[in-house]
């Protein structure tokens, strides 16, 4: 599966309160949540994002609370994929469980130009290509068990399949 979009950059330790502040946690609709995405740290972010864009961050992205509203808000904004040096673990499993592709890539992508540079991501192989220069970066592909969840379309579908098998 291929994804393509413009890059947006964030630093290290972006926490879930920054991704979506607690005052919006009564909202459940991802598109509505997306209107407040990164509001406290980049107030005009939502206005700039276009469907397909790729969020690039440093280490420990998504640390803090277990709120699934955080990956949901990102998904709701149309962002197709998050690439970070590392992720906080609950954010990581939440993203997989809701079907938001996220990739851990050790390379330094912080010199990319936000809103201008374009990346193409090959999800199956974890290969990231900088479209303007052709430069390639290798991210860790998902382990098979998680690939299974993702290929089912998320944990709910995965469990549904299992429930069906159990009769």
């Amino acid at each position: 599966m291929y994804l393509k979009g413009r890059v947006w950059l964030f630093g290290d330790n972006v926490d879930t309160d920054a991704i979506i502040a607690a005052r919006y946690l009564s909202i459940v609709d991802p598109r509505e949540l997306a209107r407040h995405l990164m509001e406290d740290i980049k107030p005009d972010f939502y206005e700039k994002v276009r469907p397909g864009d790729i969020l690039v961050a440093g280490s420990n992205f998504g640390c803090g609370s277990s709120r699934e509203h955080a990956p949901l808000a990102i998904k709701g904004s149309g962002i197709s994929c998050v690439v970070a040096r590392s992720f906080a673990r609950i954010f990581y499993r939440n993203s997989i469980n809701i079907g938001l592709p996220i990739l851990e890539c050790p390379d330094d992508l912080s010199t990319l130009r936000p809103g201008e540079d374009q990346l193409q991501v090959n999800l199956d192989r974890g290969l990231i290509t900088h479209l303007q220069s052709g430069r390639e970066y290798q991210a860790a592909p998902f382990p098979p068990f998680m690939q299974e969840i993702i290929s089912c379309g998320g944990l709910v579908e995965y469990v549904k399949t299992r429930l069906a098998c159990d009769g």
Partner: protein, 416 residues
């Protein structure tokens, strides 16, 4: 210990870090923020039942007593679900408490248990020797349906605290100090074993505070191996049998770190991150608008006793609003009986019914632009307690109480 718990649950002789396992859970927890999302997902399964109505715990504690109409609707959803699916452990306002203080208190947590909660501070229960970790709402939905969860077996870090705790230094100071040393991702994906003489001396309340903040170091869980303190605490609370699990003598740790705590000062985390930690002496003089004593980190009876011992006979500084929030109804009642609430009210503090409230900037004490607060909570991210330009400092109850009296951050000795 974590590897042993997960292996036995997965029906395997041994697991190693990195293995993926699917294991049955003893408890699955949700609150008024995460459970509504989980319920929505759960309904997609089209099941008429949950896997076990005795093993699901639902606690409306974040935006309750309902802060606005949206919160009321969410709480209603939770209540209806609990009724429809006959969830045994649903705790209504008036009978509830902040989830991570409530579950151990009610005897729902046992050594050796596997517990997941759609709340990151579920790691608190490691203080009782359980494997407990925070997950998301979709995980909770799946667990409510099939009673299982998937885990990647974490590597374990062992932190040894040597020496004995100086006066005014509590579990909160130990964990803040630790996070300051290793950073907010210092234990990312790891299990943390808290050990050493200082931990052995620590009360159950202090241990719960430490395990609570394992997540602030990025940990998957933090735990203390069961000992006499654990079993004394469980006595009379837990009536179902359990099997305590201990680390093997030759257990392999990814890393062992030693901390000597004999000369430790009380610690303060500066905004905007729980790892921005300095000794209280370096925070002296910071002027405060609000002080909060409460939360799943430090809203237990020992915390209130400490705060009251500092405040007895004194008044809160006129420039400061002090909020005291006992974490559960039982703690509230105990504080009442011990006369602690009188101390707080005489000092001109506002005492609230149990709620997460200001801890996550929900309600009951939101900060205005430019205001500064000192809180015994666990997070001080940008905007955590209100306006994005407000600031939160974190400390234990002794420093918080003393600072409320002084109006600026101070060492407890200075007001005694």
């Amino acid at each position: 210990m974590v590897e042993k718990i997960l292996a036995s649950r997965a029906g395997k002789i041994k697991v190693v870090p990195g293995d993926l396992v699917n294991v049955p859970v003893d408890l699955a927890l949700g609150n008024d923020i995460t459970a509504p999302v989980a319920i929505k997902e759960f309904k997609r399964f089209g099941l008429g039942r949950v896997f076990d109505p005795e093993k699901i715990v639902l606690v409306p504690d974040h935006f309750t007593p309902n802060k606005d109409i949206a919160a009321a609707e969410q709480a209603l959803l939770l209540r209806r679900f609990a009724e429809d699916y006959e969830i045994k452990h649903y705790y209504e306002v008036g009978r509830m408490g902040i989830e991570h203080a409530l579950l151990p208190e009610q005897g729902l947590v046992r050594p050796g248990d596997v517990i997941i909660g759609a709340d990151s501070h579920t790691c608190t229960y490691g203080a009782l020797g359980a494997f407990a970790t925070g997950v998301g709402s979709t995980d909770l939905a799946a667990a409510m349906a099939i009673g299982e969860a998937w885990f990647k077996v974490p590597p374990t870090l062992r932190f040894e605290y040597k020496g004995s705790l100086p006066k005014w230094v509590s579990g909160k100071d130990l964990i803040l100090y630790t996070i300051g040393r290793i950073g907010v991702d210092g234990a990312r994906y790891r299990a943390i074993e808290f050990a050493g003489a200082a931990i052995e001396q620590l009360s159950m309340d202090g241990r719960l505070t430490m395990a609570n903040m394992a997540i602030e170091a990025g940990g998957k869980c933090g735990y203390v191996q069961p000992d006499k303190v654990t079993f004394d605490y469980l006595e009379g609370r837990v009536n179902k049998p359990y099997t305590a699990v201990y680390s093997d003598h030759d257990a392999s740790y990814e890393q062992i770190l030693g901390f000597d705590v004999s000369n430790l000062e009380p610690q303060v985390a500066f905004p905007p991150s729980p790892d921005n930690v300095r000794p209280v002496s370096e925070a002296a003089g910071i002027k405060l608008n609000q002080v909060v004593i409460g939360s799943c980190t430090n809203g237990r009876i020992e915390d209130l006793r400490t705060a009251a011992s500092v405040m007895k006979g004194k008044k809160v500084n006129p420039g400061v609003r002090l909020l005291v929030i006992p974490a559960t109804q039982q703690i509230y009642r105990q504080a009442l009986e011990e006369g602690l609430l009188t101390v707080f009210i005489d000092a001109e503090a506002a005492v609230s019914t149990p709620t997460c409230g200001p801890c996550l900037g929900g309600h009951m004490g939101i900060l205005a632009k430019g205001e500064k607060a000192l809180a015994t909570t666990n997070r001080n991210f940008i905007g955590r307690m209100g306006h994005p330009e407000s600031e939160v400092y974190l400390s234990g109850p002794a420093v918080a109480a003393a600072s409320a009296i002084a109006g600026t951050i101070v060492h407890p000795e200075e007001v005694i």
